[in-house]
Symmetry: C2
Subunit: 235 residues, 2 copies
DNA sequence: ACCTGAACACCGTTCAAGT
DNA sequence: ACCTGAACACCGTTCAAGT
C-alpha cells in the first residue's frame, strides 16, 4: 500500500487568484513539524501548535496522519533518507562504511530534536533498505559470508544510530546555545575526590578534551579496525 | 483500598510515635515512581498518579522534588548505582571492562522504562564516579597512558550506555506483550524487494537470528578486541 | 511544618456539525 | 470532501488556604 495519501490536487482551471495557502498535505505538515522541532525543540511539537503554524484547526492534521505518532514516523523516514540520499559507495569497503556512518550522524546532529524523538524507532522503509543494502554490500565485499555480514551489519548500525541519537540527546539537553553545561560536566569530574577515585583523578584533565567529532571517529575507527582484522582482507 | 494494617488511628499521642505510613520522603517517592515505571511504562509516571499511589495530594510530591524532572534525576542515580554497587574488578583488565558493561546493560534492561527516560542524562554523581574509577583503572592497567585512557573510557562508556538505552527503547516499543513486533521487523526485511536491494536480500534470513544478548556481547567483543590490539598487552 | 484544593495553561483524540 | 469547534480526559506547576 504505497502512497494512498496525497489528496487530489485541485484542477488547473480552478486556480484563480491566490491558491489557498492553507491547503494541507502530508508534506506540508511534515515540513511544519520539522520547522517547529528545529526552532524550539521536541516539547514544542504539539498538534495545536502545528495547526496554528499551518493556519488550520489543530484537528485537521488528523485527516492526514492517524495521530502524533504517525507524524513522528513520517519524520523518521525523512531523517534516514537525508542520510542515505545521494550516497555513493567509496573506493574501499571501509570507506563506504565510514562514509555512511558519518552521514547518519550528521543527519542526526542536523536535526537533534528529531533524532531524539525517533532514533530508536526508525521505520523499516525505503531509505533504510537502501542504507542496509549499501552496508551489507560493503561487508560482502570485505569477504564476510551472509551470516557474518548480517551480524556486522547489525553491530555497525546499532552503534551508529545509538551513538548518534545519544549525542543528539546531549546536544538537546545542553540547550541550543548553552556551552556552559559542558564546562560544568568537566568541572564535576575534576572535582571528584582524588582519595576515593584515584584512577579517575589521574586522568580527569584529559576527559573533556576530545570533542564529539573526534569521539565518534574514534569509536568507528575502533570498530572498523576489529572488523577489518577479522575480515582477512585489509583494505 | 482500605489499609487494615495501618497504624493506630491518630490519637493525641500518636504524633510522637512512628510517623504515619503515608509520610512522604524522597526515598518513598522514588520507590513509588520506580514501581509505576516498571509496571506500566514511562507514560504512566505522572505526578497525579504518584500522588494517588502514595495516598497524597499530587502536589505534595513537589515538597520533596523540585519537579518531575528532579524525580527522574533521582532515579538515574539509582540506575547507575544498581550497575556499580558491589562490583569487583575481574582477574584481567578485559574481564573488568566486560563485567561492568554487562552490569550497566543488565540494569538498563531490568528497568527499561527508566533507562529510556534517563540514560542520556546520567547525573555525574557518586555511583558514576565509582564506575569511572574502575574503568579507568582497568585501562591504565592495560598499559595506556592518561590521555589514551580518557579516550577509551569515553568510548566504552558511550557505546555501553548508548546501546543499552537503545535496546531498552526497543524493548519498550515492542510493548510488554513482546515478540510480535520482532517478527514483524524480520518480515519487513524479508519482504524487501530483491531486485532493488539484492545485497540485503541475500542476507535477510540471517538478520533476525542473533538475539539481543549475543548482539551486545558481539559489539563489546569487537570493541575490546580493538582496544586490546592497541594496548600491546594482550590478556 | 506539611499538605490540600482550586486554578491555570496546557496536552492528544474523538466526533457531530458546518461549508 | 475537507475542516471546525466543542467536548473529553488528561498533563505539570503555582499558590493561597487549611490543619
Amino acid at each position: 500500500m504505497t502512497d494512498p495519501d496525497s489528496p487530489a490536487p485541485r484542477s488547473a482551471g480552478a486556480r484563480r487568484g491566490r491558491p489557498p495557502s492553507n491547503a494541507l498535505s502530508r508534506e506540508r505538515i511534515l515540513d511544519a513539524a520539522l520547522a517547529v522541532l528545529e526552532r524550539e525543540g521536541p516539547d514544542a511539537l504539539t498538534l495545536r501548535r502545528l495547526g496554528a503554524d499551518l493556519g488550520s484547526n489543530h484537528t485537521a492534521v488528523l485527516r492526514y496522519f492517524s495521530g502524533k505518532d504517525d507524524i513522528l514516523l513520517g519524520l523518521a523516514e525523512r531523517l534516514i533518507a537525508e542520510a542515505v540520499d545521494g550516497f555513493e559507495p567509496g573506493p574501499t569497503w571501509r570507506a563506504t562504511l565510514t562514509g555512511l556512518a558519518r552521514r547518519v550522524r550528521r543527519a542526526c546532529l542536523a536535526h537533534p530534536a528529531l533524532a531524539v524523538l525517533v532514533a530508536s524507532r526508525v521505520s523499516r522503509r525505503d531509505a533504510e533498505f537502501r542504507g542496509a543494502d549499501l552496508v551489507i554490500g560493503a561487508l560482502l565485499e570485505a569477504g564476510f559470508g551472509a551470516r557474518e555480514s548480517a551480524r556486522y551489519y547489525r553491530s555497525l548500525v546499532d552503534v551508529t544510530l545509538a551513538m548518534s541519537s545519544f549525542e543528539a540527546a546531549s546536544a538537546m539537553l545542553d540547550g541550543p546555545e548553552r556551552e556552559g553545561d559542558r564546562m560544568a560536566w568537566q568541572r564535576e569530574y575534576l572535582m571528584a575526590s582524588p582519595q576515593r577515585f584515584p584512577q579517575l583523578a589521574s586522568v580527569a584533565p584529559h576527559l573533556a578534551q576530545a570533542d564529539e567529532d573526534d569521539q565518534f571517529e574514534f569509536v568507528m575507527g575502533l570498530l572498523l579496525d576489529a572488523v577489518e582484522a577479522r575480515s582477512g582482507r585489509p583494505v
